[in-house]
């Protein structure tokens, strides 16, 4: 412990706080529960130009106000963030920033979560002293999916520095200088980096916006749930923004062990896309050659009575929760089906150079490790279904299957959310919630078990897979079905190598690595 960081103690707004030497005053203030307003500083971006001058604070012994984002905390230091000088300086920065800023909050996507709006409101400046004509820059496109509203921009350069420091692609820059400065790309070379969308997230105002989100929802009209990106095996922690039961946007959620503040654009689209397709909204059972809707009780009782495992095969998805996989495995064991396979769509890997742990990984599914944990094996292509065999399909395993797939099965149980063409051959359809509509866990590429939370209501009477499969097992003579995710997780953790000792509550929002018993082979990566 020779390199144990030295602790220093300082006083910030009367609150004494101890921090490691090397901590900045701004970070120390956070420990003291004091938020120092700032624009150019972003905790995930290493370069700190200290140029917005919003975080200036008074430090005893310093003749001038100092930028707290770079000023190192010192032992015995006395810092005042709310002294009159500091407050008037901050108020003045806001006034400066508003000089040429349009009053378009009513149509700005950032309204309600805008740092300029917040601080302007906080400092109470209702009337501008600016009598001159405002500069008008208009809007520009910086990427095929990102617009730049120059008039709203405060030139904090977070976006520029994200591209330079984190993405490693200096394709977004400040053009011109002084009060004419704005953000721009090189003519004809829009941003095409796979992680470019983060520039929208780091923008403290409404200058950078995703075009597919423009005018779609106000910040205060959206509900937000913590989720896990289903776009690849990285398992980026995300925030799912929902309006009127539609996912309108996903944003990265901080997890220093997985994705820091970032996520890729492929992932950003993945949940929004899950709004699409034809959904299974009610249980259906084949009666007289036709799939007929049934109540859950009827359907589960009927399936329990008809289903048997003679020479059965199972296809599962690496895009469904561990809990769904666990109960599917339990069902297969109950009816005597062994094995089971899943496929994972492959894509190009892209690394985020400034945070190399974060990659858009080749496995374009969130839970391949989870599927292996439940003893399903990775396969290429769909297996042939032996005539008259039992076929159990979980999730999107047959999304691309030909329309006659499974038509020769003896009993074809489909458990899933979407009505793919081959589902028409099913003997019974149990309508499942999507990952956005249900609580559950995934295991990412390195064996991190992470929780995602329900963001949407299900259509019709679709339900989380773990919920209705546990009841189906009850019909088959098992324990009584579970209604809560923590019970489902507990049931799974008890019998699954790698999950020993874990609990839903204990996972928290940052997740937990599998024990050695469950570690995936790829974790050495």
């Amino acid at each position: 412990m020779s390199d144990a960081a030295k602790q220093i103690t300082l006083t910030i707004d009367g609150v004494e706080v101890s921090v490691e030497a090397g901590t900045t005053v701004l970070q120390a203030a956070e420990h003291a529960g004091v938020v120092v307003p700032h624009y150019c500083y972003h905790p995930g971006i290493p370069s700190r130009p200290a140029q917005c001058r919003m975080c200036l604070v008074e430090i005893e012994g310093q003749p001038k106000l100092q930028p707290s984002c770079v000023f190192p905390a010192g032992d015995g230091m006395v810092v005042r963030t709310t002294s009159e000088t500091a407050e008037t300086a901050r108020k003045s920065v806001i006034e400066f920033l508003l000089l040429n800023h349009p009053l378009d909050c009513p149509i700005c996507d950032a309204a309600g979560q805008c740092m300029l709006q917040d601080y302007a409101f906080e400092t109470g400046q209702l009337r501008s002293r600016y009598a001159e004509a405002k500069m008008v820059l208009g809007r520009d496109r910086v990427a095929e999916d990102i617009l730049y509203f120059g008039d709203r921009c405060i030139v904090c350069t977070r976006c520029v520095r994200f591209m330079e420091d984190i993405a490693g692609d200096n394709a977004l820059v400040v053009a011109q200088r002084g009060h004419k400065a704005y953000i721009d790309t090189f003519p004809g070379r829009d941003l095409d980096h796979a992680f470019r969308g983060n520039i929208v997230d780091v923008c403290p105002v409404g200058a950078l916006v995703h075009e597919d989100f423009v005018f779609k929802a106000r910040a205060w009209d959206m509900d937000s749930s913590p989720g896990i990106c289903p776009g690849c095996s990285t398992g980026c922690n995300i925030e799912v923004n929902v309006k009127e039961n539609q996912v309108v946007r996903t944003k990265p959620r901080l997890n220093p062990d997985v994705n820091s503040y970032w996520m890729c654009d492929h992932g950003r689209r993945s949940l929004v896309m899950s709004n699409r397709g034809v959904r299974a909204e009610a249980p259906m059972v084949r009666q007289g050659g036709e799939l007929e809707p049934a109540s859950w009780n009827e359907a589960l009782a009927w399936v329990a009575g008809e289903l048997n495992g003679s020479s059965g095969i199972a296809l599962v998805s690496a895009g469904v929760s561990n809990e769904a996989l666990f109960y599917t495995r339990a069902l297969l064991e109950r009816i005597g089906v062994e094995g089971g396979t899943f496929q994972v769509e492959q894509g190009d890997e892209v690394t985020l150079s400034g945070f190399p742990k974060l990659k858009l990984r080749a496995d374009r599914a969130p839970n391949a490790v989870g599927a292996e944990l439940h003893r399903f094996t990775r396969a290429d292509g769909l297996p042939e279904v032996p005539d008259g065999a039992t076929l159990v399909v979980l999730g999107d395993a047959i999304s691309n299957a030909p329309a006659d797939y499974g038509a020769n099965a003896g009993f074809f149980l489909y458990i899933g959310s979407h009505l793919f063409p081959a589902v028409g051959n099913a003997t019974a359809v149990l309508p499942a919630a999507t990952v956005a509509e249900s609580d559950g866990t995934f295991v990412n590429y390195e064996g991190r078990v992470q929780r995602f939370h329900r963001a949407l209501r299900t259509p019709g009477v679709a339900r989380p897979t773990w919920m209705f499969l546990s009841r189906l097992l009850e019909h088959l003579g098992g324990e009584s079905g579970v209604r809560e995710i923590d019970d489902a997780f507990a049931a799974m953790a008890t019998g699954t190598a790698g999950l020993e000792g874990m609990s839903w509550a204990g996972l928290g929002l940052r997740g937990e690595l599998l024990s050695e018993a469950g570690q995936p082979a790829v974790a050495a990566e």
């Binding site: 140029q51 200036l56 106000l65 003045s92 920065v93 400066f96 001159e132 002084g178 009060h179 400065a181």
Partner: protein, 423 residues
């Protein structure tokens, strides 16, 4: 002596003695005038001994800030662990200042010699002379002199057979006042926008190309050879205790004899304006003088009896700056002059710090509005407010630069502002 005029009050040291003498531009001519006599001596000296002489001479930075040059050099690491650099700041752009260009165009070899001696003192392996882009005719003279210095063995490998090598490169800017700020200069030299950076890191720790670097003004470096040759005491025969030596004064505006003069520090400012430069032409009275380049506080005619040195000008409520008095006669509109100054700083703000980016341009717009008769009484309050909020709030002092003349003009010539507002 001065250029294009000279005066009896002047001291004609090596710095200005050959202004106007085209012979000094060539290596042969310069050697004939006694040039390059100090470099061999410096090559035999211990680097720290050179620094010591300069420190003892009390030479202060001539770029405006007046930081003691020898002290600045002493910040450089003594045991080089890789390259050190010297940057000669020839980005002379402060409105009112035009002294460095006289050195560049008349005594380029003096500057080169000064650069090499300084490089030796700080153990630099390369001198970059950053000349503002506009100075084509003058940078061309310097450039040719550098090539001659290489050819004559005064620069490059094994200088004068001493075993010590040092390169000299003339590097052109391209139109950015802020490249004259030392960190802005290094940002620009490294191929970037001339954006100043927040210190630390200080240049002597991590400057150009991430290496220990010293940035010195042209006039500072040009004074070095004579100081090293003649000694600290010799240099201290002029000036004051805190501001030793001589200084190039470049005087412009409403003057009978505008131009550059070499005068001892501590010279009475009134003498500079009235005696040396002959006062305002056509018998006009002088309304105001901006004594140290456009970024210093205005003085009225009554306030000109002050000592023309760093501490004396500070006592007078202004600053010596680059010793570049801009003289305004009685017919001058102070508001119009101030608007023009503010317009300059708005144009030259790099745009990083909010107070400077927005404040300089707002200031210029308000002043313009007052100038054309559309000002309001609140505008003066706003201007005073801006003066407070643009002082000491930013990475570099560009925003402060507009405040000094502005606040002094508001204090001293309020009636002119009010007259325009009431109109």
């Amino acid at each position: 002596m001065g250029y294009p005029y000279s005066h009896d009050l002047e001291v004609g040291t090596q710095l200005s003695r050959h202004f106007g003498d085209e012979r000094a531009r060539t290596l042969e001519g310069w050697k004939g005038l006694g040039g390059y006599a100090t470099l061999p001596k410096a090559l035999e000296m211990d680097p720290d001994a050179i620094t010591e002489v300069v420190k003892n001479s009390g030479l202060r930075g001539r770029g405006g800030a007046g930081f003691p040059t020898g002290v600045k050099w002493s910040f450089m690491p003594k045991e080089p662990n890789g390259a050190h650099y010297l940057c000669c700041n020839a980005d002379e752009s402060e409105p009112g200042a035009f002294k460095d260009r006289e050195i560049l165009r008349w005594v380029p070899h003096l500057l080169i010699e000064g650069c090499l001696i300084a490089a030796r003192a700080i153990r630099a392996e390369h001198v970059y002379i950053y000349v503002r882009g506009e100075f084509f005719p003058f940078s061309a003279i310097l450039r040719d002199a550098v090539v001659e210095a290489y050819e004559g063995g005064y620069a490059g490998e094994d200088i004068l057979g001493s075993g010590w090598s040092c390169d000299v490169t003339v590097h052109l800017g391209a139109g950015a006042y802020i490249a004259g700020e030392e960190t802005g200069l290094m940002s620009s030299l490294m191929g970037g926008r001339a954006e100043p950076w927040i210190k630390p890191p200080f240049p002597a720790q991590s400057g150009a190309f991430g290496r220990p670097t010293t940035v010195n003004n042209v006039e500072t470096l040009a004074a070095v050879p004579m100081i090293v040759a003649e000694g600290a005491d010799w240099y201290r025969q002029w000036g004051t205790d805190k501001s030793p030596g001589t200084k190039l004064w470049c005087c412009s505006g409403h003057l009978e004899r505008p131009g550059t003069y070499e005068l001892p520090l501590g010279v009475n400012l009134r003498d500079v304006i009235y005696e040396v430069c002959g006062g305002a032409p056509n018998g006009k009275k002088i309304k105001a003088v901006i004594p140290g380049g456009s970024s210093t506080a205005m003085l009225t005619d009554d306030e000109l009896d002050c000592s023309g040195c760093y501490e004396g000008m500070a006592e007078a409520g202004s600053a010596l700056g680059t010793a570049s008095p801009i003289v305004m006669n009685e017919d001058t509109s102070i508001v119009s002059a101030m608007r023009r100054i503010a317009q300059f700083y708005a144009h030259e703000s790099c745009g990083q710090c909010v107070q400077c980016r927005e404040g300089t341009s707002w200031t210029a717009k308000i002043l313009h509005r007052i100038e054309v008769g559309e000002g309001t009484a609140e505008d003066l309050d706003t201007l005073y407010h801006l003066c407070v909020q643009m002082t000491g709030r930013t990475i570099c002092p560009l925003a402060d630069s507009v405040v000094f003349p502005l606040v002094s003009s508001l204090d001293k010539f309020k009636d002119e502002y009010e007259a325009l507002i009431k109109r």
